[in-house]
Each structure stands twice: as C-alpha cells, then as structure tokens.
Symmetry: C2
Subunit: 253 residues, 2 copies
C-alpha cells in the first residue's frame, strides 16, 4: 500500500508546492517510486516539472470526475522514479461542480485504492491555499497531512483555526488521518523567527518535525529551470533539509 | 463617492494583506478617511489591527447576508482615519451558501452604494488566495484591482491565467473595473528577481505601478505588535514604499 501524504494549508505562500516537489524528489532519490498529484488550479507543481498545463490531455480533474484512473492520468517526469498527475485551470470549475454532490469528498480516496497502491510507494497531494472540495478530497484520501508553517505571524495565527477544521475532517471522513507541522523558509538571522520557533516548539512539541527547512534562494530558483532541488542544486542547505525530512518521515512517520 | 480598491491574487503569500493594511494606513496618514474590509476567512487583516476574530459581534459575513450595513459592521481601529470591517472563520461557510444564489456577486456592490460613500474616501477589500464568491464580490464592487506580484517564478506564471479570469469579471459583472500590478517583496540583491522584474516591465508596461515595494523585515514584524508600518517603523523602506504607492495611486489612479 502506498503511503499517501497531503501537503496543505489555508495560508498562502508557505511552501506547499516547494515541499511537495522537493520531498517527492528526495524520496525518489532514495529509491522509492513516487507519484505527485497537483490539486491546485494554478498548477504550479505541474509547471515546476516543465509540463504546460494548457496542453494536458488528462488531468486530476478527469480522475475526480471518474473519467480516467489515477494511473492513466499519470505521466513520467524528467526525474527517475517521480511521476506526476497534472492540474490545469479547469479545476476551478470542478471545485464548484463537485460541491454538494453526495460523497464528493471520497472521490480521490476511491481512486487511490489498493489497485494503484502497487505501482507507487508514496503518493503526494499538493493542495491549493483554500479549504474547498479539492483540499477536502486530499485530506480524506491521505494517511498523513504535512502542514508547512513559516515562522511568521500570520501563518502561526492561522494555525489554530486550521487544526480545528482538520479535527472535523478526522471525525467525519478520515479517522486515520494524522498530521505533522513542518517549519519552512526558516531564517536563522531573523530574531523574531527564533522567538516564533521557540513558541511553536512549546505549543506543538509532539507534532512538529525535528527537521527545519532553511531559507535557500536555490529553492526559489529551481522551478525556473524545471528541476527539483535534488537536480538543480543538490549540495545546498535546501536539498539537505528536504533529504533530512524524507528520512525522518520514513523512519518515524 | 469612495474609491473602492480590491487587493487580490489567486497566488498565496504575495502580500495582499500587508498591502491592504500598509496602503490603507498611508492613505489615512495623508488625511483620507479609509475603510478596510477583510474578506479572508483567515482574518489576518483583522488580527493585524489587534482585533480578535472570535469575539466579533458583526463581521463582513453579516453584511453579505444583508443582516447588517457596511457602516454598522465597521469599527474604529487604533489608527486615526482607518476603520475596519472584520472577518472570521464563519466566512468559509458563507462562501458555500452564497454560491449558486442568483446575483450573489453583487451583494457587496449593493452595500457600498453612495450612501456609504459619504463616510469614506477610500474602501479597500483584502481578498483570500482563491477565486470564490468572496473574491468575486470584491471584484464586482471595486473600481480598481491591485494585484501584488513578487518577482518570483510561480507568482508570475500564475498571472496570465488570472488576468484571463479578471477579463471574464470585467465583461460579466463589472465593466468599469481596471487593474494595476504591484511588485512586492522586491529584493535587489537577488539576480533572478532583477531578471523577472525586467520581464514584468516588458510584458506589463502599461499596468505596472512605477512604485516597487522592497523586502523589509519590519513589514513582517509589524502585525505582531498590531500596528501598521506607519506606526511601527515609519522611517523604513517598507513604509516609504507604501507612501509612494499611495501618492502614485491617488495622482495617476
Ligand atoms: N526554503 C525556501 N527558501 C526560499 N524560498 C522558498 C523556500 N520555500 C519556498 N520558497 C519560495 O517561496 C515562494 C512560495 O512558495 P510556494 O509557492 O511553494 O508556496 P505555496 O504554499 O505552494 O503557495 P500557494 O499558497 O500559492 O500554493 C516561492 O517563490 C518559493 O520558491
Ligand atoms: N515587503 C515585504 N517585506 C518583507 N516581508 C513581507 C513584505 N510583504 C509581506 N511580507 C511578509 O510575507 C508574508 C506574506 O504576506 P501576506 O500574508 O500579506 O500575503 P497574503 O497574500 O495576504 O497571503 P494569503 O495568500 O495567505 O492571504 C507575511 O509574513 C508578511 O509579513
Ligand atoms: Mg502552491
Ligand atoms: Mg492575506
């Protein structure tokens, strides 16, 4: 059975897409077969692997409408062991269509049932910065939720409310869902960041990953060259950070 | 008649809230009566003025459900000439309820009709990072849309598609809407940022503001102290940047 990971946060720009791509690439580098699923209408994850969302034959939208299986919509990327199910702007309309249909939140879960599980070791869902039907599908299908949290005021303030909403999903549609917090874009030179980190370690001691992802301009540059950090700048702090995350995740879960 | 400004982008973390607060505070400093309207369920703008979203009697949600007028939901902030209509997490549910009701996108526009116009010179709508009913209400009610764009790959890639969607709003529900692009969080030391800025100036010459908002750690810190940048660190590059924006906006529009 594949390990299914959702990367989600209501707060925007916290490194959901960067984490999906980088963690996926590090797991693939360690020999695991990884499937990335882009659930964001902006299709940033799709773009970061050099795929043009406008030219897609099949996307995750077709899978959610039961017009294609996850496997048939997946395609190989430029990275060995790393496949992608792309997204495009059509997901915006789908978000509206799905809402209100009975059991809409179980569509993705049904698609990742054991049949697909044999093909991949890990499946990663990159979510948009909202709590609509697309994110709800990912939270219902996932085994574990990773919430990226930069050490900045707005992201930390949004966290409490967001965790209450996750609790609802846990009770209603996915009782097995566990979650972990990941500090991203951490800048050691920033004294306020250090204070916020101490506060996060105090308030969320049991759910915070030990691994911190440092701020690294190479992570910002790598999508321009359509390469994950493991190929674009494999010796940088960003690449090391995500390698450490991949190891921590697969040993302690 | 008040000038109505929507601050919106589908991309997350581009400084929508920071721009709403800072631009609003600079316009208030210049003697204009400003109303900030928080349309994001995360309520970051509300929090940044020291207001607790959990304790709100009236929010923008009540206004959109026609249970309160904009004026009755507005409250004074700690800044002279700067009022706020707060938000809370209840907006998440409202987003779903409104969708599908005929004419739902005109609710905010009806509320900001001339009657409220006499009380304020400028009304600023801070939007969530999505294109749901809340953002659509702001785009329909606004005279001008300001799209914050950091000079980074994902935000620039998302722009084209976003502008196509804005065109749809322009044709369907608000023909008078004009838009401008604002470069935010600009870091002169970053060579890729300079290249992207040149590209933006080439592709969007007529809509880009001349004013650039520089990266400034004081902008990141100010919400922790519940103060806009004009009070927290009035002499910094961030404060100067937003003052220049306020002047450029009110002289050239
Ligand atoms: N560790 C890091 N160091 C430096 N820059 C980073 C880091 N992580 C992410 N970034 C940059 O920060 C910006 C936001 O990241 P990203 O787009 O991955 O966030 P997101 O949460 O997916 O955004 P959205 O809410 O729009 O989906 C991007 O320009 C990205 O390259
Ligand atoms: N010019 C700047 N210099 C430094 N930091 C900035 C600047 N502008 C914004 N920030 C910081 O960047 C982060 C994102 O900004 P902000 O929350 O305003 O973006 P947003 O677009 O409103 O996000 P969301 O999509 O979640 O609504 C915040 O921590 C903010 O303090
Ligand atoms: Mg993203
Ligand atoms: Mg915001």
């Amino acid at each position: 059975m594949a390990l299914k990971i959702a990367i989600s946060s209501q707060k925007g720009g916290v490194a959901k897409t960067t984490t999906s791509l980088s963690l996926g690439a590090c797991l693939a580098e360690q020999g695991r077969r990884v499937l990335l699923v882009d659930l964001d209408p902006q299709a940033n994850l799709t773009q970061s692997l050099g795929v043009n969302p406008e030219q897609m034959r099949r996307t995750i939208g077709d899978v959610l409408l039961d017009q294609a299986t996850l496997l048939s919509a997946s395609r190989e990327s430029s990275v060995f062991n790393l496949d992608l199910v792309p997204a495009n702007a059509g997901l915006l309309v789908l978000d509206k269509i799905l809402y209100g249909r009975p059991g809409y939140e179980y569509r993705l879960q049904t698609q990742v049932q054991p049949r697909n599980g044999e093909d991949y070791d890990v499946i990663i869902f990159d979510c948009p910065p909202s709590l609509g039907t697309l994110t709800l599908n990912a939270l219902t299908a996932a085994d574990i939720l990773i919430i990226p949290v930069p050490a900045e005021y707005y992201a930390v303030r949004s966290l409490q409310k967001y965790l209450q909403l996750i609790q609802l999903v846990h009770c209603k549609s996915n009782p097995k869902l566990t979650y972990r917090l990941l500090v991203t874009m951490f800048d050691r030179r920033n004294r306020i960041g250090e204070i916020i980190l101490k506060q996060l370690r105090r308030d969320y001691r049991n759910t915070l990953f030990d691994t911190l992802i440092p701020i690294d301009v190479k992570l910002r540059e790598s999508p321009i060259f359509c390469q994950p950090i493991t190929q674009y700048a494999p010796q940088t702090r960003g690449a090391e950070g995500y390698r450490a995350l991949a190891t921590e995740l697969m040993t302690h879960g």
